[in-house]
């Protein structure tokens, strides 16, 4: 039986990892991910979770230990943020092409400089090309549910890829809210025991991670890309299975009041919650506005997204990260969206805003301003991107 508890989201994610009965946690604490790792170490130390907790000396070592542990056939979890991701990123690329189904919670945080411990999606974007599956949550319940689903997706033999569960640092990680936590039996029913595709076993030796000469590297990368492509329908399947068992519906692209919307906000992460409230307020004044929010950033669900937003006249594309591209192209999320539209011959009026960077609060009022901006501007007059909430 699920129980409804008031709990900090970080602690709830740690509880979820515990319910998944992980074998190994190798992690290094970093704000704002700290409480996830801290609580897991408590669960292990107090005997609630029978797992190996490896307190490594850096994130690079954390992911290295995860690679070894996953290759040995252990269900493996880690978590990080920002600079921590940057330090471990070298090994993240290795984990994915080696097809190791590690699950990592990323409490999203800006990347320095200036030194910032606060939220944005810089780390999520940094991780974009590492070949992982990237799931994004919008509230605590989703962070918990996606943790269960992340293990199931990662360990599905048709996938066998590492999965990131992204949650906005502080804005979600440090918030107390009501969350339904299932019991261990329910999670066990949903998440079968981990049977690795291949495992390091002294009885049957294999080599994981050999050199890839130019005559094989292309094929190895092609194989990885094909697997990532093939994972999308399986992610959908897992969402369906989750709904069957737990009754909560997840979609690769979530939509809100989009059916008759002339203007659609494309958001990712907890921004979409404040946006939804702002949409309600705008709708009351007769503004036909709706939202599509991106649940899955890699593999990028272009078809599902275009199906959701293809009829919109105006698009508000949000990037919660800084772009250093020279000003003549858009931010990373907007680029993906525009590419998806262009490939299908669509060119609505778009505005791209960089919002909520380095912990700057994003208000309902901000959404109203952004919608107003795209509605009133002439197509062609909008720059590739604009900062919101920046002092002139």
């Amino acid at each position: 039986m699920s129980r409804r508890v008031g709990i900090e989201v970080s602690l709830a994610v740690a509880e979820a990892v515990g319910l998944c009965d992980v074998d190994v946690i190798a992690a290094y604490p970093i704000t704002p991910q700290t409480h996830i790792v801290e609580h897991l170490s408590e669960l292990v130390a107090e005997g609630h979770l029978d797992a190996e907790f490896i307190p490594v000396e850096s994130e690079h070592s954390a992911m290295s230990a995860c690679v070894g542990s996953s290759a040995a056939g252990a269900r493996t979890f880690t978590s990080t943020s920002s600079q921590g991701y940057a330090l471990m990123s070298e090994i993240c690329y290795i984990a994915s092409t080696l097809r190791l189904p590690i699950v990592m919670a990323v409490a999203n945080r800006a990347i320095s400089a200036p030194i910032s411990i606060w939220n944005d999606h810089a780390d999520l974007m940094y991780a974009r090309d590492a070949g992982w599956i990237q799931l994004v949550s919008e509230n605590g319940q989703e962070a918990v549910d996606l943790t269960f689903m992340a293990f199931r997706i990662a360990e599905d033999k048709r996938v066998s890829l590492p999965v990131q569960v992204n949650l906005d640092g502080f804005i979600m990680s440090h918030v107390i809210e009501p969350i339904f936590l299932p019991d261990a039996q329910e999670v066990k029913q949903f998440l079968p025991p981990f049977e690795p595709l291949l495992r390091l076993d002294p009885e049957k030796p294999i080599t994981i991670g050999p050199v890839g000469m130019p005559d094989v590297y292309t094929e190895a990368r092609k194989a990885h890309d094909e697997i990532l492509k093939a994972s999308k329908p399986i992610i959908g399947e897992v969402f369906d299975e989750f709904e069957k068992q737990f009754g909560r519906r997840y979609k690769i692209i979530e939509t809100y009041k989009i059916e008759d919307a002339e203007t659609v906000i494309v958001a990712m992460g907890s921004l979409s919650q404040t946006a939804a409230t702002a949409i309600d307020a705008m709708r009351q004044r007769g503004v036909k506005v709706g939202m599509a929010s991106i649940r899955l950033f890699r593999p990028f669900p272009a078809a599902e997204l275009v199906e959701a937003i293809g009829k919109a006249k105006n698009l508000v594309l949000l990037d919660r990260a800084t772009v250093f591209a020279g000003g003549e192209i858009s931010g990373p999320v907007a680029l993906e969206v525009k590419s998806a539209l262009f490939d299908r011959g669509l060119s609505p009026k778009t505005a791209n805003f960089l919002v909520g960077i380095g912990g700057r609060d994003v208000t309902g009022q901000n959404f109203e301003e952004m919608v107003e901006r795209v509605v009133t501007a002439q197509k062609g007059d909008l720059p590739p991107y604009e900062f919101i909430n920046v002092r002139e």
């Binding site: 809210e177 994003v362 309902g364």
Partner: protein, 183 residues
């Protein structure tokens, strides 16, 4: 939806108070959301924490800019911070102070409804520490009825373990001693 802003100083437990408030609301079956003004913790520095309580799911992540209730854990903050900033019409300021409500109103110029209680004195007498965060929750219950005293018991016991009883006693004494004055 009711929105609350807590003012305190680093180390006075404003964040804990906010969390306990949300937990009590959730315990009652309502929706609650609590979060700090995120930042590096600095003992003594003015800090804020925020709470939302609602009968329907809370679908916003912005800070609280227009609170219905402001709770001030440290009377010396009145000189530094405009605690009435953004307070909704009909909103209330709940203040930890040894002074009477009239005296506070005269000195600070607070125009809103006011609830005062000497939380620090109660905390010192009941728990032997000058930290009034749980104490002030008794004043919140008395002044607004937003959360129920019995729903605070579980969260306080969970948070404070062996010293929970003293916290609850302080909380209940603050409930009795809170003085309420219309604006």
């Amino acid at each position: 939806m009711v929105e609350i802003r807590f003012h305190g100083r680093g180390g006075q437990g404003a964040v804990t108070s906010a969390e306990l408030t949300a937990l009590a609301a959730i315990e009652e079956g309502k929706f609650g959301q609590a979060f700090p003004s995120f930042g590096p913790e600095r003992r003594g520095a003015p800090v804020m924490a925020f709470v939302r309580v609602s009968d329907t799911p809370i679908v916003t992540r912005e800070k609280v800019y227009q609170p219905d209730i402001v709770i001030v854990l440290d009377p010396t903050l009145l000189k530094i911070v405009n605690v009435e900033d953004g307070l909704k019409d009909g909103g209330i300021v709940i203040l930890n102070t040894p002074k009477s409500a009239d005296q506070v109103r005269g000195e600070s110029g607070i125009k809103a409804r006011l609830a005062v209680v000497d939380g620090t004195k109660i905390a010192v007498e009941t728990m032997r520490v000058p930290i009034a965060n749980t104490t002030m929750l008794g004043a919140l219950v008395k002044a607004t009825g937003l959360i129920k005293m019995e729903c605070l018991q579980g969260p306080i016991k969970h948070r404070f373990g062996p010293i929970a009883e003293k916290n609850l006693k302080a909380c209940s004494r603050a409930f009795d001693e809170t003085q309420l004055v219309e604006g």
